[in-house]
Amino acid sequence: MSNFSLLDNELIPNHEILGEDEMRSVLKQYNIGKEQLPKLKVSDPIAKEIGAIVGDVVKITRNSYTAGESLYYRYVIE
């Protein structure tokens, strides 16, 4: 199997699976359902890497030139 992590590449921002509580608070903050989040396919290499399954919400922390750090969320679909 692979002997390196995709996340080690500096161009790939950090991905982590959100816990139930945090996910709920994110959905509440934006007043949306999971379906209204941007999507991420389970077959996406990064989803495989972090072991996300369908129904998970993945939190992405990106470095930003102007904002320092910016958060993004994606809903894992088939």
Binding site: E35, Q36, I77
Partner: protein, 854 residues
């Protein structure tokens, strides 16, 4: 849906009255004034029209569904009409449909896959019949194993498909069944859709659709009669074909393989599809793009004496453009004067709308009477006059600054006039460009336009957070000439320079001349239009970018220092007031607001034009002259370069040349030659540049950023340099050589497009030829780029047009799906940012504390 069956192939009877159950039946709606609709009772204009129908004697295929019919026919069993898939497969597909629906995706690809999958079956899994090959023959024939299927047969097969199978085929049997793609009844569009026109001769001219419907009814009748009379099968089939043809061309008169139905005159009929399709069709012609009233278009020309917020409108246009004003007791007298002037004396009024809603044209005949009768509640359509708000636009409207609100200034010219400082957002020049003007008609639209769209509100561009409106060309050279060096400007000249600004007092003079008269310098004059309290420091465009900037000690006076609205030192150029770059302009808009920004632009455009006239600025052939010794120097240097190239070639031929890493020898020699020749051109440029100082007008324009570059000047005065195609030396042409003047395989500089001459000295024939080759690439490039970027823009706009920044600063599309959680990752409105740089906070802190922060 249908209000009547249509059976008569006629429209009106001899008295001109619509025939009952004919194509103009009164139940289908009314178009003639005076008649009442038999369906809804309304009169012409109010009645929306109502559909009728024609019962077809035999079913025909709807051309628009040929693709779907073909796919459906191939994927069902000819015997039992089952969808040719195992039960398990069907259920799988149904589950996939549900999933797609949940995610809000379109099922198109899935449906295609299902049809593809079903077609693979050679044998029906339900009745066991082996399946036959179905060929589609244009325009609407289906041939199964050499036998043509009649529409009746196809319809029968489709009728037998079970509701469950219909669902797997991606249709909802409750609202659409496959057999509906074969028509048995034809809807007759309401008469309001196909109105007839009465010609001047009193003759009626029918719409193309009506003509087509007449054809259909006639054939339908003949078909019926022949069948009832028991005509031979051959004749029946011919009539059936004919009916199919007429129904087909009724829907679409441009189907490939079908000769278009023509008018008696030979003109092809415009039927349903033709009404919708193409540039002049309903979508592109009538819905996305419409011709509008209250608009004008003409050539634009510059007028630096106008404010950037103004637009000069020709008197002849102003007389035609009107604005509705409701008459109230307080403007009654004013409206009376407008009406009494009529339409020929500006500012007058062109139309009047009475209380009963009747609109009257004001003429010399009824004018006096109207003045007497006008009262509160009427509306006067008065002519446009100074100060009215209009929208001004130049195509291609690529960004929001392509349409801005201006205030009207009526002028006795024939062109629209605008301040050249607003050319950059419109991307306008004055080589014949035309622009459009739209007159706003309501108080609300005027308020909205002047708050959101007025030019001064768009000085800062959301693209880069800096000014997109600003000085160009002569504005820059004018202020450059004015603020450069210490000038002695007499009182008369100082007042002349500033006379168009709101300046009423001159500052203390810098000194007195021999005659004891006071004088001022250019920096002082410029300072008069700066707002007090403005502090700014930056290197100017002319700054020679020394390794360590000497700042205040700069000998070239190219470090600008402004303290409390006073230009202490430095020269004003593109970096200070130019569009895109102007720092002074940027700071004034951000610190003092858009009104102050607009005033500053107005002031400096007027001052600059007077400034450039004060010194004068002209350019001629003699400005490209360089001294004899410099010329010699350049020739010697170029010859040396050519000699070096020859040496390189000799080394290459002797295989002594060492290849650069990752390059072949051939590539290496090309690169080395290009390098050497590039260096030679630069040296020539420098030699010429050193001889041409800041007293040369071309140098002034290039260094101040007004127009042109030092490269342009180099090419004019010293050496044009290497001509290139796709970034390489020119290699195309004859076998083994570019032109017959050279030996085959010659790698020399002149054989591959190096132009030693300058534009001033003139090119020799081979150089001229190479120059044309290189120049053509540029032309082709621009042509290709504009079409490509236009397409790209369309795609982007289509994809992004419905996205919206919400109050929580997230970006969402219409379904509420989040696209960005925070607009642009940082939630910053780039219009309000400082050139999109994150260091804005540092600037604020340093402006308050006066200390540099890191």
């Amino acid at each position: 849906m249908s209000v009547t069956s249509v059976i008569a192939a006629d429209t009106y009877d001899d008295d001109g009255y619509p025939i009952d159950m004919g194509l103009m039946d009164l139940r289908l709606g009314v178009i003639d004034p005076g008649l009442k609709c038999k369906s809804c009772g309304s009169r012409a204009g109010e009645c929306p029209g109502h559909f009728g129908h024609i019962e077809l004697v035999a079913p025909v295929i709807h051309v628009g569904f040929n693709k779907t019919i073909r796919k459906a026919l191939r994927s069902i069993c000819w015997n039992c009409s089952s969808l040719l898939l195992e039960e398990k497969k069907k259920n799988e597909f149904l589950v996939q449909f549900k999933k797609l629906k949940e995610m809000g995706h379109l099922p198109d690809t899935l449906i295609n896959n299902i049809f593809k999958e079903a077609r693979k079956s050679k044998k029906c899994p339900y009745c066991g019949e082996s399946q036959r090959e179905i060929k589609f023959e244009k325009p609407s024939d289906y041939v199964e194993d050499g036998r043509k299927l009649s529409p009746t047969e196809i319809r029968d097969r489709f009728e037998n498909i079970s509701d469950d199978d219909v669902r797997v085929m991606g249709m909802d049997p409750g609202s659409a069944r496959p057999e509906w793609m074969i028509l048995t009844v034809l809807p007759v569009p309401p008469v309001t859709v196909r109105p007839s026109i009465t010609l001047e001769s009193g003759q009626r001219s029918e719409d193309d659709l009506t003509h087509k419907l007449v054809d259909i009814i006639r054939i339908n009748q003949r078909f019926q009669e022949n069948r009832d009379a028991g005509a031979p099968q051959l004749i029946i089939e011919d009539l059936w074909e004919l009916l199919q043809y007429h129904v087909t061309t009724f829907f679409d008169n441009e189907v490939s393989g079908v000769p278009p139905a023509r008018h008696r005159s030979g003109r092809p009929l415009k039927t349903l599809t033709q009404r919708l399709k193409g540039k002049e069709g309903r979508f592109r012609g009538s819905l996305s793009g419409k011709r509008v009233n209250f608009s004008a278009r003409t050539v634009v020309s510059p007028d630096p004496n106008l404010s950037i917020n103004e637009v000069g409108v020709p008197l002849s246009i102003a007389k035609h453009m009107t604005i509705p004003v409701r008459v109230i007791s307080r403007n009654l007298e004013l409206m009376r004067t407008y009406v009494s002037r009529g339409s020929s004396v500006h500012p007058g009024a062109n139309y009047i709308i009475r209380n009963d809603g009747k609109r009257l044209k004001i003429t010399d005949l009824n004018r006096d009477e109207l003045v007497e009768t006008i009262e509160s509640g009427w509306t006067v359509e008065r002519q446009m006059q100074n100060g009215d708000v209009v929208l001004f636009n130049r195509q291609p409207s690529l960004h929001k600054m392509s349409i801005m609100a201006h205030r009207v200034k009526v002028l006795p010219s024939k062109t629209f006039k605008l301040n050249p400082a607003v050319c950059p957002p419109y991307n306008a020049d004055f080589d014949g460009d035309e622009m459009n003007m739209h007159v706003l008609q309501t108080e609300e639209s005027r308020a909205e336009a002047s708050i959101l769209m007025q030019v001064q509100e768009n000085i800062l561009s959301p693209r880069f957070g800096g000014p997109i409106i600003g000085g160009i060309h002569d504005h820059i050279s004018g202020l450059f000439l004015l603020t450069r060096n210490e000038k002695m400007i007499s009182k008369n000249d100082a007042l002349e320079l500033l006379k168009k600004s709101e300046i009423r007092k001159l500052p203390e003079p810098v000194g007195y001349d021999d005659a004891g008269e006071p004088y001022w310098d250019g920096k002082q004059i410029f300072s008069q239009i700066l707002p007090s309290g403005l502090d700014l420091e930056f290197p100017a465009e002319v700054c020679s970018k020394c390794d360590v900037c000497k700042k205040e000690k700069c000998e070239e006076d190219s470090y600008v220092v402004i303290r409390d609205g006073e230009l202490i030192m430095g020269t004003i150029d593109e970096k200070a007031i130019g569009a895109f770059k102007g720092k002074v302009l940027d700071k004034i808009v951000k610190k003092y607001g858009s009104t102050a920004g607009a005033n500053f632009v107005d002031d400096f455009t007027r001052l600059a034009i007077r400034g450039v006239m004060y010194t004068g600025l002209s350019f001629g052939i003699s400005d490209e002259d360089i001294p004899e010794d410099a010329k010699l120097n350049i020739t010697v240097n170029l010859e040396k370069a050519e000699a070096d190239v020859s040496k390189l070639i000799a080394a290459y031929d002797a295989k002594e040349l060492e290849a650069l890493p990752g390059r072949t020898l051939a590539e290496t020699i090309e690169m080395r030659i290009m390098q050497r020749l590039g260096k030679a051109r630069d040296e020539a440029g420098n030699t010429a540049g050193n001889k041409l100082g800041l007293e040369n007008s071309a140098v002034i324009m290039a260094k101040s950023g007004a127009r042109g570059s030092m490269l342009n000047l180099t090419q004019m005065a010293a050496c044009v340099g290497q001509q290139a195609v796709r970034g390489e030396r020119i290699r195309r042409g004859y076998a083994g050589r570019t032109l017959p003047h050279f030996d085959k395989g010659d790698l020399g500089a002149d054989a591959h497009g190096f132009v030693k001459s300058s534009y001033k000295s003139g090119l020799n024939p081979t150089e001229y030829f190479f120059h044309a080759i290189g120049g053509r690439e540029g032309l082709v490039d621009t042509a290709v780029r504009t079409s490509q970027s236009g397409y790209l823009q369309r795609r982007l706009v289509n994809a992004l047009q419905d996205l919206e920044v919400q109050y929580d600063r997230s970006v969402r599309e219409t379904r509420g799906v989040v696209v960005q959680f925070k607009y642009g990752e940082d939630g910053i409105n780039s219009t309000k940012s400082d050139f999109n740089k994150p260091e804005t906070m540092h600037k604020i802190v340093s402006s308050v504390t006066g200390k540099e922060v890191v």
